[in-house]
């Protein structure tokens, strides 16, 4: 049996299921007057069933890919990010059965969808493990860390709903600005997905030679029109555009090019949304958040940090240290990824202390939850792609 192909299909099924699930949770929120009357809504029941089907299918993707490659599929950007989205949905399902709230699904599933789409932009072929990753700790450490992060992410979803409901969008304020900024970031990720997909469908390729920061000659292929050239680049493909700027050796001009294209596409998307609906995105979402019970969202936000924090500590710090000691001979080496895991941990520690003793509940707590998610995403995206370190496998 071709497990690799089966695995890809199962992922597609789950992607579609989450889209359908979102639609049904939207219906559930629309027809039920409040969070508590949800139990009567058929929409929500279908929504959670479809979500579970999607989750099982994604679990199938995970297992079949594991069988195909012979190692836990968490070894590169695509695999890790996809696994993260799977656990996000898993955490949502868990929290859903505790609190029975469709609003959470309406916001959590689209985030999972965007994350899967983002993951799919990275090389998807199965890669063999480099020596450092050959250890059962890969499975143990990465899966536990991703699980912890995904539970913590649910807190951000609850926080977002809380904010979408409680921030006054009729008046100009810092809160309104930042909430819209969060929405814009999501659109930016879509911009990345759209531009990457468009250029990859068109089969765009431009080859360059350049000199890297250690003075070594290297080669690079762009899959997007090269706005920025690498240091001392020379163009090998003749029929493609010439870069506008040459970057110094420490800047990865390819990454910068991708970023600028994503930004460009994202801004266009955002302007289109604003032109069509004539309202900020946060205002578009507000009616869907209005039905959520603020107290409950606050509680979910706090509870998911409480559940996720120990899991994160275990996976991202303790297991990480044990493995680092086996593989790299030291349990801690101030590698950027390690430091950002520590920062995430310290941040949530601060969150808990502020909540417990300074009474930071409601809006403040919701903002902190959203900020925590931003830090997790920064560690996933920026630290891997921009800051070079031992964890830059993808």
């Amino acid at each position: 049996m071709d497990y690799a192909a089966l695995s890809a299909n199962l992922l597609l099924v789950s992607f579609i299921a989450y889209l359908v699930g979102t639609f049904f949770f939207g219906g559930a929120v629309k027809v039920s007057k409040t969070e508590k009357t949800y139990k009567d809504s058929m929409w929500g029941k279908i929504g959670i069933v479809v979500t579970i089907i999607g989750f099982v299918s994604q679990l199938g993707y995970f297992i079949t890919r594991w069988i195909a490659s012979g190692h836990a599929p968490v070894s590169n950007m695509f695999e890790f990010t996809t696994a993260f989205s799977m656990m996000l949905v898993g955490s949502f399902i868990l929290i859903f059965f505790i609190y029975k709230t469709p609003s959470l699904g309406l916001f959590a599933l689209p985030i999972a969808i965007v994350i899967i789409a983002y993951a799919s932009m990275f090389p998807r072929e199965i890669t063999p493990l480099i020596p450092a990753l050959k250890s059962y700790w890969l499975t143990v450490h990465v899966i536990t860390a991703a699980l912890g992060e995904s539970i913590l992410a649910i807190s951000a979803v609850a926080g977002l709903i809380y904010l979408a409901k409680n921030v006054d969008l009729t008046k100009k304020s810092k809160e309104r600005f930042w909430l819209e900024a969060v929405m814009f970031t999501v659109v930016l990720v879509l911009g990345f997905v759209v531009s990457s997909t468009a250029f990859s469908l068109s089969g765009y390729e431009a080859d360059f030679t350049y000199v890297d920061k250690n003075g070594k000659a290297s080669e690079m292929t762009y899959n997007m029109p090269p706005l920025f050239g690498m240091s001392e680049y020379e163009q090998l493909t003749t029929d493609t555009m010439k870069p506008w700027f040459e970057m110094p050796a420490i800047v990865n001009a390819k990454t910068l090019t991708t970023f600028v294209w994503s930004l460009f596409t994202g801004i266009i998307l955002y302007i289109l949304i604003r032109l069509i609906f004539r309202r900020p995105i946060a205002a578009l979402l507000q009616p869907f958040a209005k039905k959520a019970n603020s107290q409950l969202m606050d509680e979910i936000g706090y509870r998911s940090v409480l559940i996720g924090f120990p899991v994160f500590t275990l996976g991202a710090l303790i297991f990480a240290m044990i493995w680092a000691h086996e593989a790299w001979s030291r349990f801690w080496g101030w590698d950027p990824k390690e430091v950002w895991a520590l920062i995430t941990w310290l941040f949530y520690a601060a969150f808990l202390h502020l909540r417990l003793s300074q009474g930071w509940e409601g809006k403040k707590s919701a903002w902190l939850a959203v900020a925590g998610f931003v830090i997790i995403m920064f560690n996933l995206v920026a630290v891997n792609l921009i800051i070079a370190g031992l964890h830059s496998y993808a």
Binding site: K33, T34, E35, K36, D40, S69, G70, Y99, P123, E125, I126, T127, P128, I130, P131, K134, S135, K213, N214, A249, I250, N293, S294, Q295, L296, Y302, R303, L306, I307, F309, P310, T313, L314, I318, M321, I322, H325, E326, A327, W328, S329, R330, G333, W334, D335, V339, W340, L342, I343, L346, A349, A350, H353, L354, L356, S357, Q358, V383, I387, G389
Partner: protein, 551 residues
């Protein structure tokens, strides 16, 4: 300081907010408030009571959570700054010359890089101020925990079943109303609470149902774990507790292990394997085609020896200990030491063979081989012909100040000054020979012509000994126990008691997860007739129930 006597007769320590026994508010502030602060049960905390002496002030500074959080934020922010550019230990600059580091940061990152270096951010995690921050964090953890855990423990053990109505009224969950048969209600409630696994105490028409009190100690347990961990880190400074050395060992070499006196290591064979496209084609074909060869394993087959007891250091009187293949993730372990496979170099030059040629006749008069690690002074080719190796540069780096120089002792780019003594030139002809380069002072009759080279692999190993690991692990385990204890178990209490006449009052408190506390209360209410309660913090609850029921 004097004790505070409550109306119930209990003597509370000075500074108490809520009576330890009956819960009556004792301070004016508490008396006025609608909801009392239950975080530490209104107990007398040292930091809230004594504020005069210097010790009080230091104590109060570190016991403040606000300060604690500020320290956390400071550590967090500075740690983030340390990741902007690579830290000192990840920079490919050898040696400890500060100017080379400055040059590196400036060359790659410009003025910002220079500033980064000058502010000490390039070695931030070892800077004195970062260490002070961590020290302050540790102090804060200890003091803040002690300030809270002792009074909290006292209050929770002294609490009485029957509380004063003024205490109940000031809880977040509270309800009061007339009930037809309050004794019946109490009895039913007691049973329902027991079914929900609460520990129920009954006293004089009052119920105290309590669950998971041990969850309350979670934070203090996890703080203890953190302190153990930090102590473990501190102990690495003790000599003998911590060894961290690296060594390069070539194939066939036997070397003393740095940091592990008395032990020797022989590198029998070093090998690198890659995923070959043939066998791995089916699964990894696409990836291998895209990325080229991917290394699957590198391995040093080593033999470990120990010097026999009583033998002189450096003597060859050794005892074979064991043979082991070291690979990444599988270090060699012995006597508290671990040797890790970290790095490798393939194709390091081992020997170079030259032929001495007569330039005119183009005839070889003999060959000689230079061992690049232990070169001989003189090579005798017979017939009155010999080569004197006048100077050797293992890693030739060009001419510095008119002299050829070597940048390392590793034969990456060997260069030689030969003195070729032949019957025609008994004093010798001098020649500078480097790879693809021969320099002569005057035109010579003979030349040393490069014939062949032999290479070998070198393995990069790290030697560690860390006696603190078990302390660190213990710290980690204690932390996990504490954090799970505090996060997954919530201390819930429900008070139900008879008021005046047929009135009943109920109140509830939990340190977290109010949702489940309310669910528990609702379950009790299904069995026992009890007053409806309100959650003073849920302003939308009314809308939910009224609107919800109209659907």
């Amino acid at each position: 300081m004097s004790k505070i006597k409550c109306q119930c007769g209990h003597e509370n320590p000075f500074g108490t907010v809520l009576c330890e026994k009956c819960g009556r508010p004792l301070t004016d502030e508490a008396k006025k408030s609608e909801m009392v602060d239950m975080r530490y049960e209104g107990s007398a905390r040292r930091s809230q009571t004594y504020k005069k002496s210097v010790i009080d002030k230091i104590w109060n500074f570190f016991s403040s959570v606000k300060i604690g959080v500020s320290i956390i934020i400071a550590v967090l922010t500075t740690s983030a700054i340390g990741t902007i550019f690579p830290q000192k230990f990840y920079v490919p600059v050898s040696g400890n010359d500060p100017s080379e580091y400055l040059e590196y940061y400036e060359r790659l990152y410009g003025t910002v890089g220079k500033l980064y270096y000058q502010l000490g951010f390039y070695d931030m995690y070892n800077s004195w101020w970062f260490k002070i921050l961590i020290g302050m964090l540790g102090t804060s953890i200890i003091i803040a925990s002690l300030d809270r855990v002792i009074p909290l423990y006292k209050s929770l053990t002294k609490q009485r079943t029957k509380r004063h109505p003024s205490f109940m009224k000031r809880q977040r969950i509270y309800g009061e109303s007339d009930v037809s048969d309050s004794d019946e209600s109490l009895k039913n409630a007691e049973k329902a609470l027991k079914d929900l696994h609460y520990k129920v105490k009954v006293e004089d028409g009052a119920i105290l149902a309590e669950k998971n009190r041990f969850g309350r100690w979670g934070p203090y347990v996890n703080h203890t774990g953190l302190i153990i961990f930090l102590l473990g880190v501190l102990m690495r400074g003790i000599p003998g507790f911590y060894v961290d050395e690296t060594m390069w060992i070539r194939e066939g070499e036997t070397r003393e292990i740095p940091g592990a006196p008395g032990y020797l290591l022989e590198n029998v064979d070093f090998s690198v394997e890659t995923y070959s496209q043939g066998e791995a084609d089916e699964v990894f074909g696409e990836a291998l085609e895209k990325n080229g060869a991917i290394v699957s394993e590198f391995k040093s087959d080593v033999k470990l020896y120990k010097e026999k007891e009583g033998s002189l250091p450096g003597s060859s009187d050794v005892e074979f200990m064991k043979e082991y293949p070291i690979i990444v993730n599988k270090p060699l372990k012995f006597d508290g030491y671990s040797i890790f496979q970290m790095d490798y170099k393939t194709g390091e030059l081992k020997t170079m063979t030259f032929s001495l040629m007569n330039k005119k006749t183009e005839q070889s008069v003999g060959e000689f081989t230079v061992d690049l690690n232990e070169p001989a002074k003189e090579y005798d080719l017979g017939n009155g012909t010999s080569i004197e190796l006048m100077e050797y540069f293992a890693d030739y780096d060009g001419i510095v100040d008119g002299q050829p120089s070597s940048k390392s002792p590793i034969p990456n780019n060997p260069a030689f000054i030969f003195n070729m003594k032949t019957p025609e030139h008994p004093d010798g002809e001098k020649s500078f020979v480097a790879i693809r380069q021969t320099l002569e002072v005057e035109p010579n009759d003979y030349e040393a012509k490069f014939l062949s080279a032999e290479t070998r692999d070198a393995s990069g190993l790290t030697i560690r000994k860390d006696k603190t690991l078990y302390i660190l692990l213990l710290g980690g385990i204690v932390f996990m126990i504490g954090v799970i204890q505090g996060s997954y178990w919530q201390h819930r209490r429900i008070w139900i008691q008879k008021g005046s006449g047929s009135e009943m009052i109920i109140a509830g408190h939990t340190n977290k997860n109010w949702y489940t506390l309310k669910k528990d209360l609702d379950k009790v209410k299904e069995v026992a007739t009890l007053p409806a309660y309100t959650d003073k913090q849920d302003k939308e609850a009314v809308i939910d129930t009224t609107e919800g029921e109209t659907k």
